[in-house]
Subunit: 329 residues, 3 copies
């Protein structure tokens, strides 16, 4: 698969793209020596955040800077700019595409990044479009699994928490359709269960999906626990929210039952759904995700914008990652 | 005319400055090859926006970055900084002038940039001072005309919409005093007509000014339609605002009547005063303005800050631009 | 004293650190020639401001840029990011430490930067933690004294204004414990006097402390007047605030009595506690502080992050600064 022009939704990615991207991320890692790279020198990225996200914005900007590119940034485009005067995302994108070589867009409306991509002649990366998707988050989540466990196939993965409104969990679930022999367990409160539509799509793509309630009983046999925050802002009914949150907490007691070779992930921010006492457990991989994400996004920017070939070290088998150094084991 | 130390108001610019600036902008265009230029390497620009404007801020920051300079940026200086503690613009400017080699200031008060310029020993560029002026917008508007039509003289130009409160239209009108043989048509709702004072100043400077209502009838003979948004925030009376907006809409019907060699400009953002179906018309030049503006601002920064001579390709006659490539024709 | 890993509080600094830092700041000054330095090329600084401060943020970002490093910046992290979703400063710091090589943190809570420093493996600089400390402000204040007066010892210094809530004055007072033969005069309204605890700590460290009311009488014999703003936001009682502010104004009349060789400092922003007519007096050093602060912060970043040795020009005696060029005399 050639590199896509725009990065808009998980559906775009096939297995070969994902695996090559992960290997490119590895080469970014080795490239992060003394000094910034000059691979993207002369390229300018614009980050347009109509909904604030310090973490995601800084991750993209760090990736671009480390590749030698330039950054222009709107941290708060929604409240401060022409948006309040009624400008469409299409107009904003067309104008900023006159300044920059790549747009990274976060927007509260589903489909906003795609609408921007339809009218500009520079690449657009969707950094979260409201309740819809967050494709680079899904990529960095799966990259973290690959990095930490050495493979993306044959895994038992539990998605926990908000599987209805949380776009990170849904985006990752969709990306898992590119893995093989995956058993997916959905552990969600009744008000935040995954939509039937998505469950059927996963099953149709060969992912074995099981909904269940007993995370404790499941823990010993899981490779990955992907915990998510119950997001108050996605609930219209406060009682539903209160019932949903705090139902599945990852604490020391759960960790004692959890597979000693497994990892815990979280798209972050977390509130209290993972107890801080778990942070020092080597299986707590959620802070390592940040650095993995940096390399993944460097690889993505480099691939989308770059003209220089990447020397990818060929690994022996299709899905074997160079586990070790950073891994949780 | 030597380059001015500060860029504060349209009145500063004479014809020779404008024409040399446009030719410098052309050389910036050719310089935008692979890699950023190093012309302003080691120079640091501070953008201080006390009133948000994503578009203008990003345009200046892209220009500086592409010239190899550095940027420090306050996207939201008004609400977040010492301004709320009662600090004057003079004090803020004096302090930031200790960090940076150039200040770009947007401020809600008329004269704010000039007050800053009076107390610092680095160049100051006015990026919009409230209801007053937006001189670099006027320069990029006229540069777009020069680029798209190949000349700045002998043109029939209509300014449409808010000619009383809109600083973009008023700034451009003032800059047109540096052109020759210009016929200017003012098409504004009764509540937003250009002040008599400005009309008299234009006439006094040799611009032939006509106020009229019938944009449709005028369209076939116009070279430039400069459409503007009726800005609600400039109206104190909501009824006046409602009466004014939506009176002169540029749509397919108007475009059918419009001069096939003409161009439509807009300082943007637009709301509904240009119908989106017009966007694909090659005469719709308002999105090309963004890129023209980038080069114009690069030329301005380079001229104000630079020490390296610019090699300007000499064109045969005084006002002939190298029309072609990007033009609408 | 080796360079500290983190810069969190004034207490960390001893006399030898302070003096070497000042000499390093001098070498930064000479290094600020044409072009940015490449000393920190490849290093990335993240500024996380949970409480806005345009001045301090831009100062750090200018320093980093002039040293060739990269910057990722959250101007408004408190209101826009995960913080509103309930994320702790520890979590935010851990994630951003995955992107950047250094964190500069401003936060409304005392101890926030220290809490961040405890969990990350990159250096953290405290850029103000609520009512607590602002250690780099104290360093640049004392550096300004050293630069302007040529020494840090044997000085008569008055701290004026808010000595209870203002962290700048308190931080400087603590740093003065590293100077010798200092006479410190505290001139504060009754509701904003320095805490007894801090006064005792100063006395215990050998600083001769006197509280008094008559700034006019004292002025002729002072070397430094350090004026501060009475900060409304630190007062819970509006009547106390009104009584406190405006009690000690520095105006032309006071300047006529003031030591002709002395200097006036202010951490800025000022409101009306220094009359603008004083600005042109060569003893008004408060705007020169901004540039001194730039070099001081460059030295600090370079020392904390740098691997290249700094060539410090050795001055003859321990505390003699190269007074002259920029000084007020």
């Amino acid at each position: 698969m050639p590199v896509p022009r725009h990065i808009l939704e998980v559906r775009q990615f096939d297995r070969s793209f994902v695996l090559e991207l992960f290997e490119r991320a590895e080469s970014m890692r080795s490239l992060a020596g003394p000094g910034f790279s000059a691979r993207l020198q002369g390229k300018l990225m614009a980050t347009l955040f109509f909904e604030p996200s310090t973490r995601t914005r800084l991750s993209f900007e760090a990736a671009m800077t480390r590749l030698g590119g330039g950054v222009i940034s709107a941290e708060y485009a929604g409240a401060t700019s022409s948006a309040v005067k009624g400008e469409t995302i299409e107009d904003t994108a067309r104008i900023v595409a006159g300044y920059a070589d790549l747009l990274v867009i976060r927007h509260p409306e589903a489909g906003a990044a795609a609408r921007a991509a339809a009218v500009v002649d520079v690449p657009v990366i969707n950094a979260g479009d409201g309740p819809n998707e967050h494709p680079t988050q899904a990529l960095l989540d799966l990259y973290t699994i690959w990095k930490e466990l050495g493979r993306i196939d044959g895994l038992r993965i539990a998605l926990v928490g908000d599987l209805r409104y949380g776009r990170a969990a849904r985006s990752l679930a969709m990306l898992l359709t590119q893995t093989r022999d995956t058993e997916l367990f959905l552990v969600a409160p009744p008000t935040a269960r995954m939509s039937q539509e998505l469950r059927l799509a996963l099953s149709g793509a060969g992912v074995r999906v099981t909904e269940l309630d007993d995370l404790e009983g499941l823990a010993p046999s899981l490779d990955v626990i992907y915990q998510t925050r119950i997001q108050r802002e996605r609930f219209t009914d406060l009682a539903d929210y209160e019932a949903a949150r705090g139902r599945y907490i990852i604490d020391q007691s759960l960790m004692r039952r959890f597979n000693p070779q497994g990892i815990v992930l979280h798209p972050l921010p977390r509130v209290d759904e993972i107890h801080p006492s778990v942070d020092d457990d080597p299986r707590a991989a959620y802070f390592r995700q940040a650095r993995h994400g940096l390399y993944l996004r460097m690889a993505l920017l480099d691939w989308v914008l770059g003209e220089q070939p990447v020397v990818v070290t060929a690994y022996s088998s299709g899905t074997a990652a160079p586990a070790g150094g950073d891994s949780a084991s």
